[in-house]
Each structure stands twice: as C-alpha cells, then as structure tokens.
C-alpha cells in the first residue's frame, strides 16, 4: 500500500530556476526510502514540499491517499518531519516542547508519558528533558526533534539528513526505531549524503541530480552487484 506518492512534482523558483523537475516516486508501507543527491540537487526542496511547508508549481503529492495541496491537515496529522537543523523553541525545556507537540497531535497523557519514557530512554535524553533547549548541544536538539516526531506514531516519517550530529549510539537507536516503525506498517523517507548508511538501511533509493530523478528502485535493482557509491558517482558524473 502506498504511503507517499509523488506525481510529476515540479518546483520553479522566481525566475526560471527549476529546483525539482517532474519528480515521481512511490513509497510503500514498510519502506525505508533513501533520497540521495549532491548539495543543491533538490532534496530539501522536495522534502519541504512533501511535509507541506513549501508550495509547488506542478504535480501532486499524496500521503496515504490524501492530497498535500487539497487536504493538508489530513496529511500533516499522519506525518512527522525532522529538518536537518531543527529550530526548536529554545527557551522551552525539552519536556515542555514535547508536551506542546503532543497537545498539537492530541495525544493522551498516559500515552505520551509512555512514549516519551520509552524513546527518551533509548535515545538517552530523558534526564536532560527538564533543562532549557538553549542549553542543549546540536545532537541533543536532534534527539528531542526525533522524539517529538515519534510522539504521535506517524504513518510517514520524513527526515532531512537525520544522522548529522547524532552520537553513534543514538544513530544506531534511530535506525532500530526506523525498522520498528516499518514493521508496524509505517514508512520512512529520508535524505542523506552518507551512502554507506543508505546502502545498509534502505530497501529503496532514489538519486536526484539538478532537480531530476536519474535513478530509482529497490537497492538490488539499482546497484546490480555494484556498490551504491559507484552507482551514485556514475549517475551524477554522466
């Protein structure tokens, strides 16, 4: 079952620069989908359009059958987004921020408590949740952002460079959580520059170059015995 469907998505910036050009892809339930490309290839622009923060020029994006353009609230309720550099409310404590997000998604007190405890302990951030976010390191902020994304158990988790700044244990834990989500029927779509991570973690990958998808499919289809790094470099150097 398709959780995310992108159909001929095109984004043209003022003037004539095409940041995304006729992008189409499908993320199925249970997929861990890697989105790779050079800096400025159009990864973040596509991700921001998926989560409904950026409007787009042409095409359609569906999340669990709902149109991002026409039913944005339905889409947002079942999606979680973790940006590459999360801008959290710095003067709130971690727990205040998590409660804010839980209130937005209307999560019961018992459920939120259990989830904060579970994911907080696994990401080793629970003890710091009483401190203001302004006192956190980049990695700690990233952990709070991940925790806030998991609080409503989204059907689709969209992440932009999620492993940047995470310590090795937290990175490992995040990968585990991604697998658990997919086992429950959700899907994960994330961008990364770390090809080794994508190769080991993802079952599907798309490569974007200058706003166009130049290759996509299951890892086996795409690599055909080569490494993902070789395939990627061949693609972008063409």
């Amino acid at each position: 079952m398709s959780v995310l469907t992108i159909e001929n998505y095109t984004k043209v910036y003022s003037g004539d620069k095409k940041a995304a050009d006729n992008v189409s892809l499908t993320v199925e339930s249970g997929d861990i989908y890697g989105f790779i490309g050079h800096n400025g290839a159009g990864k973040s622009t596509t991700i921001r359009a998926i989560v409904g923060v950026l409007d787009f020029t042409d095409g359609e994006i569906f999340i669990d059958g709902h149109s991002v353009k026409k039913e944005p609230m339905e889409c947002k309720k079942i999606t979680a987004y973790i940006p590459d550099n999360p801008d959290l409310y710095e003067n709130l404590t971690g727990i205040q921020y998590l409660n804010f997000v839980a209130d937005v998604f209307d999560i019961d007190a018992d459920v939120r408590e259990a989830r904060i405890k579970d994911y907080g302990d696994r990401l080793e951030i629970t003890e710091a949740l009483g401190d203001p976010i302004s006192s956190y390191s980049h990695g700690m902020k990233q952990k709070v952002a991940i925790l806030s994304a998991l609080i409503h158990e989204p059907k689709l988790m969209v992440m932009d460079e999620p492993f940047v700044g995470l310590d090795p244990k937290a990175a490992f834990m995040l990968k585990e959580i991604m697998h658990e989500m997919c086992a429950r029927g959700s899907a994960v779509f994330f961008s990364t520059h770390v090809l080794e991570v994508a190769e080991k973690l993802c079952n599907k990958v798309a490569i974007i170059k200058k706003g166009k998808i130049i290759a996509q499919g299951t890892m086996e289809e795409l690599t055909g015995g080569k490494s993902l790094e070789e395939v990627f470099l061949e693609g972008v150097n063409e």
Binding site: S14, V53, K76, D87, Y89, F100, V101, D131
Partner: protein
C-alpha cells in the same frame, strides 16, 4: 480563537519568556541577567507612566479633559500602526520556526493569527501603561463613575487591534507585491520605506484637516476637534462613548469590529500564506560566479563591510534602523524645494520660533532622525549564534567593535551631511555656518554610534528567535533611545534659544565640545566592556 490558536499562542509566549528560563535554568549568571533586565523594564514602564500621567494632567489643566479618550485613541492608533508596519513582516512571515510549525497540523490561519496575537500581546504592556496614565489624568479632572475604570482599561486594549490589523494587511500587500520579484528583499525594503515615509508625513496632512491650522483653536474648540477626529476614525468614537458614557452599543462595536476585522484579515492573508513564505524563504542563487582579483582590507574595514551586509540583508533591521536615515535625507531634499521655514513650520505649528533661531538647531533636527536609532545598539546582539565566528578569529576586541562603529558611521554620516546641506541651502545659511553645522552633525553621529555600541555590548542578547527581538524590543535599543532622545530635545530647544541669546558660533562650538567629551567617555566604556566579552 480555537484551541490550537490558544495552544500555539501560549507556547509562543512561553518560548520567548525570560520567566520560563528563570524557572528552569541552572545558570546563575543567566538568572541574574534576567532579573536585571526585568527591573530595568519596570523602571522604564514607571518612567513612561510618570511622563504620560504628567502629559494627561497637562491636558486636563488646559481644559482638554473631554478630549482625553480621543487623544489616547490617536496616540495608540498612530503608535500601533507605525510599529506594526515596521515589524509585522518579520513576525508573520519567514520566521525561524516556520518549517516546524507548518509541518504540524495547524492551518495557515492558525499560524499567522497566533503570530499576530503574539505580536499584539508583546506590545500590550506599553499601550496599557499609556492608557492607565491617561485614565489617571482623566479621573482627576472628570471624576467619572466607578464602572468607567475597568471598562476604560478593557476597551483600551482593543484600540491597537484595528490599526495593527490594517498595518498587517498593508504589510501583506507589500510582501505579496515584492514576492513576485526576483530580488524581493530589495523591493520589499523600498516599498516598506515608502509606506513608512508616507505614514510619517501623512500625520501633518491629517492634523491639518482636524486642527484648522492653529494650536489655539484646538484648545478653544475641544468639542469640534474631537468631533472631527471621530468622524474620520469611528473606533475613537466607540472608545469614547463606551469608556466614558458606558454606551453598550459602542462597547460592542469596538470589540465586535476588532474581532470581525481580525477574522477577515487573516482569512485573506492565509490564502496566500504558504506561497508567500515559499518565495520569502528561498534566495536566488545564480551559481555563475567567476573568481576575480580580490582586495585586501584592514580588519576594521572588513568587519564594517560584514556589518553593512548584515544590515542590508535583514528587512526588519534595515527598515527599523534605516528609517531615520531615509527620513533625514527626505527632509533634506524637501527643504531644497520648499525652504527651511516651511519644513520647520510644518513641525512646530504655532510655536513661537523664527527661522534664524531654528538655524542653529539644524544639526539637532537632522540628528533627531539620524540618531534616533544606532546600528551599533543591535549589531553586537545580532551576531547571535554566529558570535563564535568573530570570537574564534584572531581579531582584537578593539577591531570587532571599531568595525561595528565604522559601519554605523558609513551610513549615518552621509545621511546627516545630505540632510544638513539640504536644510542649510533651503534656509540660505552661509558657507562657514553650513560647514560648522556639518562638523557638529558628524560629531553627533560619532557620539550616536559610540553610545549605541556601549548599550549594545552592555545589553548584549545572543539567544533570540527573530531579528525584531533585538532591533525593536532589545533592552539596548530602549536604553539608547530614551536618554538620547531627551538629550537631543534639550539640545534642540536649548540650541535655538541660546543661539538667539548668545550666538550660533557659541552653540556649535559648545555642542561639539560636549558631545566630543561624551563620545570619548562612551568609547572608553566600549573598550572596557568589549574586553570583558
């Protein structure tokens, strides 16, 4: 407002509240700083309250008691409109946490409406202080019924809403027009400056309609004055009738009108909100740069260049700190065409001043505009999270702050000179006289930049969410503005009087010496403070 509006508004207020940090932080130094800032704000509110009570008592003494509700409406309306024009774009669009909020299940209307309410609540204490002061003055002379007190206070909270909504809508139109351009930032800055200047000068036009030319007539004909303003601006009538006559229909009209306009404005804005933000959050990258021969500069000059790029790259910074310079140049150019007398006549309607008296005050008239804000008040705090860059570079603290002062002077001195020249030519001043005024103007600019820098370092705040928090609401800005404005007013009036009594040369030379000395003191403090940072 629905539950999500309330939730978001509550979180926005909490996320910028120092009290929340005071409650949760373990950093003693940070807590001490918050308490200090809190006390400083209480002192400022008390100062404003005292000044406003004295002003209200003055109105009562000259028989303007009945006009007080209307005067309060006029003051709050003008302030709310101007301040909102200056800050609404950075509050409502392209803010830091836009992606985070828009990715959550909030509607566009909820996000932008809550941001507006946040902006309103942040300025409400200032407006309430003025309202309470006017109420005290009114109560002393009108001896109203007990019910007037709470109703006055509650209704006065609604006075700023309508002008703020109108200003927000105007800013939205400006943003929408500019978003269609490739270099939207430049277009938006130009349009905003045009709106600010038009609003500033429209004051004189409106006064002309209402006042029938002279101050005396206002004092003698309070009833017609009130009537005229009320005819132009109905909320003033609703407030007066609601607060003083306790007329239910007027109370309902003021509250209902504000709520209805809120709904209407944000339904309009929400329709294009995402498109507007998409345009504003992206910058044009041509990727066509070719490396050419590069130039070597001194550290201070390089720092100054960086500061100017920061100034021109941020619309709230540019419009808030740059408005005075643009207005000064505008006044200077206008004086070339209409002459000094007309300009002064427009500002001091009915006041007993002659053209010759005013000439010695030219540098202060210009400085009133060029010095009302110093870039250096905000530039230390605006380093924000990038403060580590200059701190980790092998630059002396002296060069860092000299660079900031230099950047301020690169902008303020040309504006001061152009405006002074315009007014001197318009006022037919002699060459030596003009040179004297220009030199004094330059000294004033150096003082402004240095004093601003002292305030900027002393009240440096690096953990902000939005440029506006530093540029418009920063403690450094408030601490700079108040004494500087009072001193300028004293020098302006004193300069005019002393030049008539003793002579212009004495005024210019003395002022240069006094401000030169003050600048030296400020510079020493800047260096001492910078060393500690």
């Amino acid at each position: 407002m629905n539950n999500k509006n309330v939730l978001l508004l509550k979180t926005l207020l909490r996320s910028t509240s120092s009290l929340n940090v005071l409650k949760t932080s373990k950093d003693g130094k940070k807590k001490g700083k918050i308490i200090g800032t809190f006390i400083a704000y209480i002192v400022l509110y008390l100062m404003l309250l005292t000044y406003s009570v004295l002003m209200a008592m003055g109105y009562g003494k000259v028989g303007l008691t009945d006009a007080m509700p209307m005067l309060l409406t006029m003051i709050l309306t003008a302030l709310a409109f101007m301040l909102t024009i200056l800050k609404s774009n950075s509050y409502l669009y392209g803010f830091k946490e836009y992606d985070m909020l828009m990715a959550m299940p909030f509607t566009e209307k909820t996000v932008v409406g809550s941001k507006f309410m946040y902006m309103y609540l942040k300025s409400l204490p200032w407006y309430l202080t003025m309202s309470i002061a006017m109420l005290i003055g009114y109560a002393m002379y009108a001896k109203p019924a007990i019910a007037v007190y709470p109703i006055w206070i509650v209704l006065s909270m609604f006075i700023p809403v309508i002008p703020m909504l109108v200003a927000s809508l105007l800013s939205f139109v400006v943003a929408k027009i500019s978003a269609a351009f490739k270099y939207w930032k430049a277009v938006q800055a130009i349009l905003l400056f045009a709106v600010i200047i038009l609003s500033f000068f429209s004051r004189f036009f409106i006064e002309k309609i209402i006042k029938d030319d002279s101050v005396d007539e206002i004092l003698q004909g309070t009833a017609s004055f009130t009537e005229n303003f009320e005819k132009i601006y109905l909320p003033a009538k609703w407030f007066r009738e609601g607060a003083t006559e306790l007329k239910i229909s007027s109370i309902l009209l003021l509250i209902g009108g504000s709520v209805l306009l809120f709904e209407l404005v944000f339904v309009i804005i929400a329709r294009s909100y995402k498109r507007l933000n998409s345009a504003m959050k992206t910058s044009v990258a041509r990727h066509a740069y070719k490396l050419t021969r590069q130039k070597k500069n001194s550290v201070a000059k390089s720092m100054a260049f960086k500061e100017i790029k920061r100034f021109t790259g941020s619309i709230p910074y540019l419009t808030n700190a740059g408005a005075g310079y643009v207005m000064a140049v505008g006044v200077g150019i206008a004086a070339l065409f209409v002459g000094l007398d007309k300009i002064i006549g427009a500002i001091t309607t009915g006041a007993p001043v002659t053209g010759d008296m005013v000439k010695a005050a030219i540098p202060f008239i210009v400085y009133f505009l060029t010095g009302m804000m110093a870039l250096t008040c905000s530039s230390p705090s605006l380093e924000g999270k990038n403060y580590w860059i200059i701190k980790s570079l092998p630059i002396s603290y002296k060069d860092i702050y000299l660079g900031k002062i230099l950047a301020n002077l690169y902008i303020s001195i040309p504006a001061q000179i152009i405006a002074t020249l315009g007014l001197c030519i318009g006022g037919k001043c002699g060459i030596i006289e003009t040179v004297g005024y220009i030199l004094l103007g330059v000294v004033l600019c150096v003082f402004s930049a240095t004093f601003g820098c002292e305030c900027g370092i002393r009240f440096m705040k690096l953990d902000w969410e939005n440029d506006v928090e530093v540029v418009k609401q920063g403690t450094a800005v408030v601490v700079y503005m108040f004494p500087n404005m009072i001193l300028t007013m004293i020098m302006l009036v004193g300069g005019a009087i002393l030049s008539a009594l003793i002579g212009k040369v004495f005024v210019v030379v003395t002022a240069m010496l006094v401000y030169g000395l003050l600048t030296a003191v400020c510079m020493m403090r800047v260096m001492a403070l910078a060393k500690r940072r």
